[in-house]
Structures are given as structure tokens and as C-alpha cells.
Amino acid sequence: MTVDGAGVLLRVRGLRKAFGGLVAVRDLAFDVPAGAIVGLIGPNGSGKTTVLNLITGEIAAEAGSVRLDGRELLHSPPFRVCRAGWPGPSSSCASWPA
């Protein structure tokens, strides 16, 4: 997989999502370099899963930009995000029934 000039594979900018009055994700921005192993940590209800769901398109974001491999994915449905190279279901989708 190729990366842009700065060696960034996943670039997130200004990501925002509110559920009614609750702002779950406010102007999130981060870069993930190619080959890096990164963690997304935070207390319960801080919006970790929401961020992943925004990236995969499971939930529609209100604003921002998600670029994987240079391709804008923000308004793509999940199957397109998957075909663009996103590695499949997040932790909320178990491989077998719980």
C-alpha cells in the first residue's frame, strides 16, 4: 500500500459527531503512519467506538475528513471503505455470536 508524502497511511481531520446535544467526537485529528502500531484509548463513553464507526461509515459523520491511502472515505458506505483497504469489522462486530 502506498502512502502520501509524509508517510501517512490514515489521516483524520476535523472529525465531528453529535448525538442530539451530546458531542461524542469533537474535531478529532490524527495521523497513522504506514507500518505503525497505534492504540486508541479512553474511558467508557469517550467515543472510541464512535470514531471507528465514523471511519468505516457505519455512522454518518457531521464534518471532517478521513483519508486512507490518500482516498477520501468520509461519505462512503462501509463496503466501499472495506474495499479501499480497511481491515474489516471492528470489535463491535463479533466473528461469531456472543
Binding site: 462501509p78 472495506c82 469489522p89 462486530c93 466473528s95
Partner: protein, 311 residues
Amino acid sequence: MSRGGRAGGWPRSRLAVVVLAILPRFVSDYRISLLISIFAYVAMATAWSFFSGATRYISLATSAFVGIGVYAVTLSIDRVPLALGLALAALAGFLVALVVGLSTLRLRGVYFVIFTFGLAELIKQLVTWYEVNRNKNLMRLVFADVSNVFLYEVLLAVAVLTVAGSWLAGRTRLGFALRAIGEDETVARHTGVNTTLVKVLVFALTASVIALTGAVLSLRYSYIDPNIAFNSAWSFQVLIMSLLGGGTRLGPAAGGDSARPPLRVPGGHVSPPLRHRARPLLRGHRLLSPRRRGPLARACPRAGRVGRTAA
């Protein structure tokens, strides 16, 4: 059946088709009409099961598509050649299912079931309203000049193509996508399946088979009205056949075959006792057997387990 081994399975089924194709020369008219009904049920149950069995979207809209096929061919029979009328029936079923699919396949579970049932009733009432208020006559005569053998051959072809088509399509990406949707739609979406496209396309394709079958069957009616064309019994009979037949490729066909005589009992057409007729069904039923993967067992995986614990 797919598990029977390809070398032995195909020639046998080809032989069966050849035997069925020449059968009308040797059997009575009554048996021909019986087989006509069976072929129709085989085609419908197989088509229904290809979508609803795999995806677990239980559709009760079968009667809507049958009725659309019936009316399409009845309205066009005096104006265009019969083959074109049948094609129009299939097309009408496809288009209506396309519109319905786009608006309803967001619904899950019992909501989808109720909506499809309501849709069939809605279309029936709309047609009734039109016939009463515009056509000023609820009844339409069917002037089809076709023989029983012709219907037999057409429906045999439809049934064979449907069974073979669903068997082949089940092994393509589309078939796997359908089953993935049935297993877990969210995961399917996140693993690259365009779930909306797959669902709507297959729903519409199977609806066109159902509409075509209804259209062919209507050629032996002398007249139709909305209650005949949109008879909701179709929806339930086709569903029951698929449940009885189970989740294998030939299962729905077998269900259509075996369920047909007993299901006529409520209409009072079959003289032997119901128990006698129904026994082979009850013995082989696959409703709740998770191992044989009957659609009902797949739709509610706990039902089979509950039954076994109680026993």
C-alpha cells in the same frame, strides 16, 4: 443435491428432466394438471427460498408478485404475443419488487414480514378499487388458447431453470453475499458486500420468477378477480414449502413437491384422510433441525434447542 457428488448428481437430474419432458405423452390429463401445479410450486418455493432462506428476510409478498404477473398477462393477452405477455409479467414483477425493495429492505425481522404482507394486501385493494370504480367490473375473463401440455412444458422449463439457476447462483459471489447477509448483515457490510444492491437485486429477480409463474398459471383460469390473483394463500403456501424443504438446493423443490397435495385439503379437493397424506411430510420435516439448516431453524436458532431441552 450438491453434496451427492457432481459426477453422479448431474446426469441423474438431467435424466429426470428428460423423463418429465416426455411424460405428458403417457399420463392422463389429470396428472398433467397436477404436475403443472407442482412445477409452479417448485419454481416459486425455490425462488422464494433463494432470497428469503439465505438472507432470512421472510417475505409474505409472494401473492403480490403472483397477482402482478396474472394481471400483466391478462391485460396484455389480446394485444401482444403470449411470449411477450409473459416477459412483461416477469418485468412487471421485477420493477415492482425493485421499488418495494428499495423502500422496505431497511426493515428487519418481523417488521419486514408485516410490511410485505401489508404490501400484498395494499396492492390487492388498489386493484379492487380500480376495477370497481374505473373498470366497473371486478371480474376479467381470460381468453387464453393454450393446451395443458403447453402449460406443462413452459412451467417445467421455468421450474428447471429456477432450480438450476439458484443452484449455480448460490455458488457465485452473489450467493455467498446473500448468505453473509443472513449470517450478520453488519459484518457483511463491513467486509465489502454492497448489501443494499445485493438484497434489492435478488429480491427483484426472484419476484420476477414468481410473477412469471403466476402469469403462466393464470392461463388456465377462465376468469380472474383481485381475490383470485392476489390470493394471500400463495404467500403462506410457498413459505411453508420452503420451510418443509429445508435449506438445501433441492429442498424447496422437494417441499413444493410434497406439500402440494396436503395443502389442497383446506380447499376440499383431496379425498384421502389428511393424516394419510401428511405422514411423509411429518416424518421428513426439517422445520427445526439446525443440522439440516432449515430456514426456520436458521431464522430462530433457539427454537430447535428449546424443543430438544424440553424433550
